[in-house]
Assembly symmetry: C2
Homo-oligomer: 511 residues x 2
């Protein structure tokens, strides 16, 4: 259906064929079980607490009477903007119609991704106003940076998605930059991407541009956009986010409802409380999507950080956040929806050891928890305020390792390799044996960043640290970039649409 629906034509197919020639998995099919720190009784208790939050404490729906009306019609009660949901109402709505798994279509069908189940889709970081590079230090991001990261994500076999607001193009007007962001994802990549959520009209623009690429009917019946809807935790949604949510759901596009919680500020300081509150908030958004359009694809998202005691700043890669990720994934499985969690998180300003420890902790925990959509897999620095060029390619390297790990243990005859053990025997080496020769090239993941050479060789090579090697790598990648083909007619229609729309209202940097 994807193939018929898209308008890529002959060139699109050629690109798809080229992609098929290089074997690359479009997403990770996990062959390992999810890890769960809590048992069923504890998870049920957290679910019960979420229902208590929804039914007794309630959720504030700000400046959005339409949404309140929708919920009241479905059985909720409203006291001004405070809405309370009978126990089980939101859960029931989600479980009745939300898909457990769905396909997000890319303009290159080889890059379609499966969201949910045993699948994991790794996605670039999202939302930074700044970029960081060794060469340029930290500065405001531009549309040129945005394009660069789209290109790097396009070239990264380990990333399965082009992401969304991969960084904020601060050189463009706030109220028009969504056009250039969506266009860049289409033009410079052929992986799936995300739409704008900063205003309902920008969500409509994103859908309109997607329709130019995929066709009207296809978009109304299939998911081509995944869209990040944050709750204003604690227990609050606003009309901007809910407005965008409703636009996307009405067009059958996926909404990823992610409470944004810095524990201690927007929630209590304990893991079980964060998990219950986040679930309550998430269920409100996901059930609204089902009321607007039953069957609209949804993802339950978690964005959780804890707070520094000293400064009040958010911290990342912490054990408390890891536990919340783990519990959130289990709660999503029990609810029957795909789960989104964090990726290469760090509070570090530079791609140093702090950045890597924190990122690795979050990546590993997300992978083992069984995340389906890992936003922020690559590039994140400074608590999300900066997108790092070097950090991006470092995290891509980790993402590739995660795919190898998720493949699990090969228990075939070849994997057991008893013939090799018999052939070589005690005291000999396996370098030359036939099994090693047959399997060597694919046996071990080959890092793009790590230097495993001897100290002496490393000195001879200039004593480069990981950041310096990563700088060389991203620059080489950008120099080597070749754009995927895009039907010139579609390209022209996208540009015409953007120009017409941009001319129809004045620039603004207010919001």
């Amino acid at each position: 259906m994807a193939r018929e629906g898209r308008s890529g034509g002959r060139r699109g197919r050629a690109a798809a064929n080229a992609a098929e020639a290089t074997p690359r998995a479009p997403y990770i099919k996990r062959n390992i079980p999810p890890y769960e720190v809590l048992g069923d009784a504890d998870l049920a208790k957290i679910e019960e607490n979420a229902e208590t939050i929804l039914s007794e404490i309630g959720i504030d729906i700000k400046d959005d009477p339409e949404t309140i009306e929708i919920f009241v019609k479905a059985g909720a009660t409203a006291d001004g903007e405070r809405v309370r949901f009978p126990r089980g109402m939101c859960r029931g709505l989600i479980q009745a119609t939300a898909p457990r798994q769905f396909t997000q279509y890319a303009r290159n069908p080889a890059n379609n991704v499966e969201i949910g189940g045993n699948n994991t889709v790794l996605v670039p970081a999202y939302g930074s106003p700044f970029v960081y590079s060794r060469e340029g230090g930290r500065r405001y991001a531009t549309i040129e940076d945005f394009r660069n990261f789209v290109k790097l994500a396009y070239m990264a076999d380990s990333l399965h998605h082009s992401g969304g607001t991969i960084c904020e193009p601060v050189d463009l007007p706030v109220n028009k930059r969504h056009f250039d962001m969506v266009y860049s994802h289409i033009k410079y990549s052929d992986k799936a991407f995300m739409g704008s959520v900063t205003h309902p009209s920008r969500a409509e623009d994103s859908v309109a541009m997607a329709k130019i690429v995929f066709g009207d009917d296809f978009v109304e019946n299939n998911c081509v956009l995944i869209n990040l809807i944050n709750a204003n935790s604690p227990m609050t949604f606003d009309d901007t986010m809910l407005g965008s949510l409703k636009v996307y759901a009405r067009h059958n596009q996926a909404v990823m409802v992610s409470p944004f919680i810095v524990a201690g500020a927007m929630s209590p300081v304990t893991v079980a409380a964060v998990a219950a509150q986040s679930l309550a908030e998430g269920m409100v958004g996901m059930s609204l999507a089902q009321l607007v359009r039953p069957g609209a694809p949804v993802i339950y998202g978690n964005f959780v950080s804890s707070m520094s005691m000293q400064s009040g700043a958010p911290t990342f890669g912490s054990p408390e956040a890891s536990l919340v990720i783990n519990v959130g994934a289990a709660l999503a499985r029990r609810l029957g929806v795909p789960f989104r969690s964090a990726g290469g998180f760090t509070a570090s300003k530079v791609p140093d050891a702090q950045a890597a420890y924190e990122a690795a902790n979050t990546l590993q925990q997300g992978l083992l928890a069984g995340v389906n959509f890992m936003l922020h897999t690559a590039g994140w620095l400074e608590g999300g305020l900066a997108m790092g060029y070097e950090k991006f390619v470092m995290d891509c390297d980790q993402a590739a390792m995660m795919a190898v790990y998720a493949n699990g243990v090969d228990m075939s005859e070849n994997g057991q390799a008893m013939d090799a053990l018999r052939e070589v025997g005690p005291g000999q080496h396996f370098l030359g044996c036939s099994h090693t020769q047959a399997n060597f090239k694919s046996a071990f993941y080959r890092s793009t960043i790590a230097d495993n050479n001897s100290y002496e060789q490393w000195v001879e090579d200039g004593k480069l640290d990981a950041e310096q090697r990563a700088e060389q790598l991203y620059k080489q990648l950008l120099a080597d970039y070749v754009a995927p083909e895009l039907d010139p007619e579609i390209d022209a229609r996208l540009i015409e649409f953007m120009e017409t729309r941009k001319a129809s209202f004045p620039d603004s940097n207010i919001s």
Copy 2:
């Protein structure tokens, strides 16, 4: 029994009381389940393959007729130095008498550690000939470095053990440095430690020194030393390692039998094969300990690295090694013995992002696999060739986070925090609520290394990266070090023993 058996006297008790005043867990009691990538059928297949290796291929026992005779008497067959073990023989010997869990006693009983079960003991890295620091670069290690790392490990609440050859004191003769190493562990720390394994006579010296501290009878009936016995993989043991193993087992001291495998060189390239081979080798060593002294404590160790395709160098933090750790831990649980795996592994020469990604991957995987004794938790650089000062304190910070994670999710009323959610409600912040006030100090782990401040604050603080902050930390710790009290009589007897023994044979740097 520990209290009675040791000779620390009044001062020892004072030190213990001081330690008790600061609440510090002597080891981690995991409140999270182990993660297992393989199910029972696959694990059973790997066990079957290990038995095939032992019964059909056999193990070479080099230059050690006594060990061959012991095994043959127990039912094995020998063809020269090639020994074959009937299916189930080694496993049966281990399961009949090896303890599932045991206590290793420290000279300060507050630092006794439980090895096995749901317990995790985090231990410094082991065996590096070099040290690395920002200030001094990479250079050969000295006894002064050794003492420094013992002091740092003593001060680290997150480490539960003093380790063994924490680095090689290359400035001392090879055949006498074990005296100074064992003495340093006793003198500068009061945590449990490891004995020398480089010659059976050095194992005897280690036991003799332990007896001065703990008393003869106590040592013969309790574990006060854990000792690292490597197999010469593939499928080979030598007389040095087996000689030391037999010495320790005869004195009832623990042996940690760890095949040392760089996959592709010392084993086939596949995870399932590495796991089977490692298990076969480990069972030979552990069953020998049971034959020498039934009930002698043993640990099944894994040291696995994969090989760089380019250089043949070992690589660390790789997904393949992570899978082997996971499978090894599950095999140890099924066998019923404690499990040792790797910690903060890396091939990086400096404590950069590579070092941190690789270390974090290994630490996280070891923790979730359910490791009981994590050797090399802190300090490891350059594939184990260098012990890093900055890396050491960075890894200690990670170790502390692992303990928090292992504590699991607090599901008490306080942990659920429903009162806080009711008190604060939608749209408000939790900073001032009574639950936050009551829990804030202990709610979130506070990193000793991470900088979570704003970019502006970080710039004002000098733009230090993690390595620079770690340098400040380890220097401050060494400046603040205060030695634990040691009974002067014991100290004098240890020094006298060493001097007498050192004078009894000439210096040698041969081996």
